[in-house]
């Protein structure tokens, strides 16, 4: 079981960014350029090269379950796309030993007009199953998805939960030697997520299958993977047992900040920032910067923290402040909001931000930031937050009676 399943050597992927109108090229421009200067090379200064992956090498042994971690834009998705042959590398190579199935999304190729039954076959074929395999697994897939009754209904009439369940069920019944998974667990309701996670564990550990798993979900990573590879700006920044890699990664975050374009004629949120040094110490400190063409009387900023299922965990706005902070009219500014040692479980969270005044809301940035919170006192025996909820409260235990 120690043969290499995936060998990656010096892998690199370069994208060329054109600093002109984006999207597919206009033939007119090409032709016009060709007529104007038929022999000159095209616009040498107007493009910029960007390496999504740079000189990446690693090896994954057969049967290993590896988590790929890193911030958005670190090259994780590019790596998975290269390994699943959706796009070609610019340099280097990858050698894969075994049949690969990749799940970069659930329900790829589902067609709304087709029935559940038809979509099982179509999706299975797209994911690389043969008709015979699909037929053999059909009953299992249907049972897992819990949509028996609607099998002959076009999926456009499905609820989003049913849709996702059916899609995951097909994917979960693939039987490749190497499975490449991108963040597909963030689907469905809590009960179904738990079932998915269980199925993933079974798939990952049950039959000596090699799995590459990209996720932002720390608890799922800890639960499923043995090893972690950490990517930073397209290069390997860390590699080792998942627990260590994950904790170095979580502690090395740069300032987490998102900036937003603000229209000049409307009040808007210009940036949202989370202090990462404070986050490491287990504190949440947000800064929200806003701008407005006319003074807001007074500016009202609201924050809501959601868990990864999208359920609100906690939130507040500046209308709810106590005597220590008095709102005053302002046309621009930065408002800080902090919670020291919030009683949260270690998990991934997202924050949405609102801006308004006494009368109405002007701007709203859904999922402005996402962050991984690591509770300072994480108990290794703690069940995951999906099971016991997002709150990590200081329970006091004592004997009332004992025999």
């Amino acid at each position: 079981m120690s043969a290499a399943a995936i060998t990656v050597e010096g892998l690199g992927k370069r994208y060329t960014l054109r600093h002109r109108a984006g999207g597919p090229g206009l033939l007119r421009d090409r032709l016009a350029n060709l007529l104007r200067a038929p022999f000159r090379r095209r616009d040498p200064g107007s493009r910029e090269e960007f390496w999504a992956l740079r000189d990446l090498s690693f090896e994954v042994k057969q049967g290993e379950v590896v988590g790929i971690i890193g911030r958005n834009g670190a090259g994780k998705s590019t790596l998975l796309k290269i390994l699943s042959r959706i796009t070609e590398p610019t340099t280097g190579r990858a050698i894969i030993q075994g049949r690969v199935a990749s799940l970069l999304e659930v329900g790829t190729g589902f067609h709304g007009e087709l029935t559940g039954r038809e979509n099982i076959f179509l999706n299975g074929a797209i994911l690389g199953m043969t008709r015979r395999e699909i037929r053999a697994k059909f009953d299992e897939i249907v049972a897992f998805s819990e949509v028996e009754k609607f099998l002959d209904t076009p999926v456009k009439f499905y609820s989003s939960g049913m849709y996702v369940r059916l899609a995951f069920a097909v994917a979960a019944h693939l039987e490749p030697e190497i499975l490449i998974v991108d963040e597909v667990l963030a689907v469905g309701d809590a009960a179904f997520q738990k079932k998915c996670l269980g199925k993933m564990r079974e798939v990952a550990t049950g039959q000596g299958r090699t799995v590459l798993f990209v996720s932002h979900n720390s608890s799922a990573l800890l639960d499923l993977c043995e090893r972690g590879i950490w990517l930073q700006q397209g290069r390997r920044a860390g590699d080792g047992p998942i627990r260590e890699t994950l904790s170095t990664y979580l502690q090395t975050g740069s300032a987490m900040q998102r900036e937003f374009a603000v229209a000049s004629d409307r009040p808007g949120i210009a940036s949202v920032e989370l202090d990462s040094a404070a986050l490491q110490a287990g504190n949440l400190r947000f800064r929200v910067t806003f701008r407005s063409p006319t003074p807001l009387r007074p500016p009202v900023v609201g924050l809501i923290v959601y868990n990864k299922l999208g359920q609100p965990v906690c939130g507040a706005n500046t209308r709810m402040t106590g005597p220590e902070w008095q709102p005053a009219p302002a046309s621009a500014g930065t408002i800080a909001a902090a919670i020291e040692s919030p009683p949260l479980q270690s998990d991934s969270y997202r924050v949405s931000v609102w801006l308004g005044d006494a009368g109405q809301d002007y701007d709203h940035q859904a999922d402005a930031l996402s962050f991984d919170y690591v509770a300072p006192h994480f108990h290794p025996k703690s069940p995951p937050p999906e099971v016991i909820g997002p709150l990590n409260l200081p329970w006091k235990w004592s004997w009332e009676d004992r025999a």
Binding site: I86, P89, R93, I96, S102, T108, G109, F121, I126, P154
Partner: protein, 276 residues
């Protein structure tokens, strides 16, 4: 789990080339599924369903029959509806394939950016879908011929060859348009023009014999000329004066377009996932 019997798969720049044709074969079931999906979806939520496959050529035939009769365009003694419909058959197949193929990649963009498979499957299945409509129309032609009491001659055995030629012409031109359309959406506007204009420069409503001799070489550069004349010859036994030159020119052009189409498609498909 047993060690895989598969040879190791090497992914590097330019490597896809080598497994391409083997992969195309390996993914043949996906090809069938995509064609089947397109067929199933096409006429869902339509009131008259598959009759649409017939309605369009039927109405075109009616128009051309009426105007052809009015302008007294010679048909060589064949009942005019049959004369027109035989030609419409390959023409409709060609134009439907072209429209289907050129949009196929863009409308399957979600697949292309999420799963690997030889991209050639997508336009190929679009052409295969049009082939089904073609077969439905062919049945209608048989009915039409029975009604007018026209029987095919022995040349009918050559028909599959002309169907193959039409298929290659559709695929070749379709591949060019498909690949160009991914990069330059201009071709979305070029296509309706080709389809509209092509109908009038192809011998659908008339026979090639009325084209003046000195224009023949230029006229026969349109590969549909050879295909349509070939259809008329094999179904109705009606040979135009320049039949074999036209068929020869057409076969040569179709071959060139098909191979250059495959070449261009293959050359650009590596970047589809990045630009789509």
């Amino acid at each position: 789990m047993n060690p895989s019997p598969l040879p190791p798969l090497v992914i590097e720049a330019g490597r896809t080339e080598r497994h391409y044709w083997a992969d195309l074969w390996r993914y043949r079931e996906l090809f069938a599924f995509l064609a089947w999906r397109d067929l199933l979806v096409r006429y869902k939520q339509t009131a008259i369903g598959v009759a649409w496959a017939l309605l369009q050529p039927f109405l075109t035939m009616v128009v051309f029959t009426v105007f052809g009769a009015w302008l007294a365009v010679p048909t060589g003694g064949v009942p005019r509806p049959v004369f027109v419909f035989v030609a419409l058959l390959p023409w409709q197949f060609f134009s439907a394939s072209l429209s289907g193929a050129s949009n196929s990649l863009v409308s399957n963009a979600h697949l292309i950016s999420k799963v690997y498979f030889p991209r050639l499957i997508v336009p190929l299945s679009a052409v295969a879908t049009s082939l089904v409509d073609f077969l439905i129309s062919a049945v209608f032609l048989a009915v039409l011929m029975a009604v007018y009491g026209v029987a095919p001659g022995p040349a009918i055995v050559a028909l599959p060859l002309f169907v193959l030629l039409a298929f290659c012409a559709s695929l070749g031109a379709g591949l060019w348009l498909t690949a160009l359309n991914v990069k330059y959406r201009d071709f979305r506007f070029v296509l309706p023009f080709i389809v509209q204009f092509g109908l009038y420069i192809s011998p659908v409503a008339f026979t090639s014999d009325i084209v003046p001799e000195r224009w023949r070489p230029l006229y026969s550069l349109n590969p549909l000329v050879g295909i349509i004349d070939g259809f008329r010859w094999s179904v109705l036994g009606q040979a135009t004066g320049s039949l074999w030159q036209c068929v020869g020119t057409s076969a040569a052009i179709v071959t060139a377009v098909l191979f250059s189409g495959i070449w261009y498609f293959r050359r650009t498909e590596k970047t589809f996932a990045d630009v789509i």
